[in-house]
Symmetry: C3
Subunit: 333 residues, 3 copies
């Protein structure tokens, strides 16, 4: 079996992803395994992490493996990425060497590398993850860069636990207010997984500025179409919530305003009413609701909704560990 990375769910078929979720369900019932026995997984965190860090490290341990946690203080030491670079500037090392050498010591590599939020054209190149994928001689896992495929897998698993088959369910990804502009990674991933698993995805957001990168919108549209569905974009709260089976809340910064956040802040501040509350939930078809965590209570979602029986955020968080074990098992082959 040729080596594969787990960079994005778009690279994997729906049956492959479903098989991972099925495996994850088995791990949830019986956590231990030996597929990583005697193996090492390097986890490179260029940004802080609580859930991802812990769920990966514990999961690797459950599978008999050893996690090496690399989180350079002060962020990544400067790397060069271009072939043929004359490295007389800041970069002390070419990505090729860092990755090739890690591949000599470890059997799998996870990478977390958030965008810089100053230039989306630059951020969308996902340079660090791409370099690992290009140069690694071992499987690479995306632990959140500009997408967050492990989170979306955990979400899909939690939704199946609650709803059973997902085909045809109305999935609303709603933008919510947050005082700062956040990464679009989870939003990109949530939309894609909804489309991939046959749901009817609606992207609810304040304006066209908050539509996600074309690459992910197109992927979601293509997957939705393959399942006989259509991706809808809505700026109308009532319309979007009406008849929803799933409400997934997330805040993100508007792509056209990357690096110029002052005017974007004004738009955001005018849309605090996008908060997920009981009034809105009453318009749904008794929808399941979730959020990837951390979440600002009573800003993105009211306590009444978050603490209701319909909220599966803790299950989604727990499932991170189970799906990641399934993903690592699939990659370890």
């Amino acid at each position: 079996m040729p080596m594969r990375h787990f960079l994005n769910t778009a690279d994997w078929s729906r049956p492959e992803l479903q098989a991972m979720i099925d495996e994850a369900r088995r791990f949830k019932a019986s956590p231990k395994g030996d597929v990583l026995k005697g193996k090492t997984v390097a986890l490179l965190f260029l940004n802080n992490s609580l859930r991802t860090r812990t769920s990966f490290e514990v999961g690797i341990n459950h599978l008999g493996g050893h996690a090496v946690i690399l989180s350079p203080s002060g962020g990544m030491w400067p790397l060069a990425f271009e072939d043929g670079a004359v490295m007389d500037g800041e970069a002390e090392e070419h990505a090729r060497e860092a990755v090739k050498v890690l591949s000599r010591y470890c059997d799998m590599i996870g990478v977390r590398a958030f965008p810089k939020f100053t230039d989306w054209e630059e951020d969308r190149k996902d340079k660090i993850l791409s370099a690992f994928a290009k140069y690694a001689d071992v499987p690479v896992i995306n632990m959140e860069t500009i997408t967050h495929p492990c989170q979306e897998m955990a979400l899909a698993m939690a939704l199946q636990e609650k709803l059973g088959p997902l085909d045809g369910k109305k999935f609303v990804l709603t933008w919510t207010y947050h005082p700062k502009p956040l990464n679009t990674a989870v939003a990109n991933s949530a939309l894609m997984i909804a489309a991939k698993f046959g749901m009817q995805p609606t992207l609810l957001c304040p304006s066209e500025d908050y539509i996600l990168d074309k690459r992910y919108m197109d992927q979601a549209r293509m997957d939705a179409e393959a399942n006989g569905c259509t991706v809808k974009v809505s700026h109308d709260i009532d319309e979007a919530y009406s008849g929803a089976d799933v409400v997934y809340a997330k805040s993100w910064g508007a792509l056209p305003w990357f690096g110029n956040w002052a005017p974007e802040k004004e738009i955001r501040d005018a849309h605090k009413h996008f908060i997920v509350d009981e009034d809105k939930m009453a318009k749904t078809d008794n929808a399941v609701v979730s959020h990837c965590l951390p979440m600002r209570r009573n800003v993105k979602m009211t306590d009444a909704v978050f603490d209701s029986a319909n909220c599966i955020a803790y299950d989604e968080a727990e499932n991170r560990m189970h799906v990641q074990k399934a993903i690592m098992k699939a990659l370890a082959g």
Copy 2:
């Protein structure tokens, strides 16, 4: 057996604590065990640590478990603690979510969170540890906040190794000079364990300003009384050292001066003569002496005393590992 935390020795009976020390003595003779086999303990360090970090991690490993070390660079990400909080300020996450999710991944949680030293009324709420205790679905261990129960257990064990039964022994907790105002945690804990284990505790300090928080003074008084003893407070060096069986040295900042350290510094600077030296030790009943480490040599204690056969500081430090294993075994049930 209902789940219990190990937040403070005050929550545990003397026989329960003695059973842990007895277990610790067995671990000292035979270090390995399997009570944490296949289990994970998250150790959250919001402050630096050498001894606590290493002794916990090694101990967990000896018991067959896996330690996940969480030490967010830049300290804790800002948490909300109040129920119903509208999280539109700094806090990105409610303590409830952070703790509930960790509880899904891990089987036990250790927390180190020092006070901020600007407002004792605020610090004494011990908010972070309290939140973990409140929300965790797994046992929580205090790895030093405003008390340091693991340290006091290691001290009690070391004293029993050296002195045998402790009842009726005169235990002097002496404040010593240090250029900076330090945490009262170890002082609080030392006084409480002395009282709990039937010793005659004397708190020796420069003035009333250095008396410890009423909560801990009262606890010590209550425990001393139950053992037929009395907590004494003294500002007279000769009186305090006279006939002592144990001298325990520690420096701390005066509670009434929290956040207003300049005048307190003047008081401290006038009491450098509180150093533990051979002259003072000569007044004791050949007392055992110790300190929790790190310790400024020839400022808090002279080399002659620290390097003497009566000093058990290294044993106390080593015992940290053994008692912590016993504590974890008790909590793992």
Copy 3:
């Protein structure tokens, strides 16, 4: 067998070092072992690390042991080193206590502590490593301070893999340009290992200012002489490369200019032509070439040379893990 440290190759005989390399070759073929079963190795990193950190941690795991990674944020807490110190300044702890206590918890200790680059007379005392060696009750390993013995062992192993017996081979250690003044540790170690293993060492550098510390030059001269060889110093590129069997590239700051780097920068900037390129390599006897990594491509060495079949830098990096396992096995006795 009395306890030994691995501080410098100079402390070990050539047969002892060769036995470690032979053991490392066995580990390369069959990675697992049990010599550290149930044991803990503390790895103290006072400077960032990718390769050393990962290769040690993975190697310890392969041998059945557990690595405790200590990397105090903000560098080392201030230590006192002198006996009898009155610790009323910055130092919160005497090195003796830190090391003695670690010795109670762990079975072996690795230390990385780079020089400060402001005063070579001070840096060359290697205070932190020396304190560990002095006070530790368990074996101590140098993970790079002012020498880097693990790197030189990995180099020797890689050279033997490529060239077979090394006696009489012409080994050129060439200084190369780098925009910043770097540690001399790898240069010191490369020169010493070449001499130790019977090669003809040539130190090629821009001027006398770049000659290495007398301690290491003398050690290399003594070892070379014992093997019937001579250490040569050259400032002539053609002469040095001519007939070389090995070219080892490294940049370092000139010792006489420590702490006064502005004028040294001018000298360095005038010697960018020391880059290892195809023209220079053509003068050699089809030499093997390497570098310890990280390496600035097309500044220290051209892509054409680095990516050629003669370059063994990745093998040298991989061998770090294997030789370190052999070293730990030798120390664990």
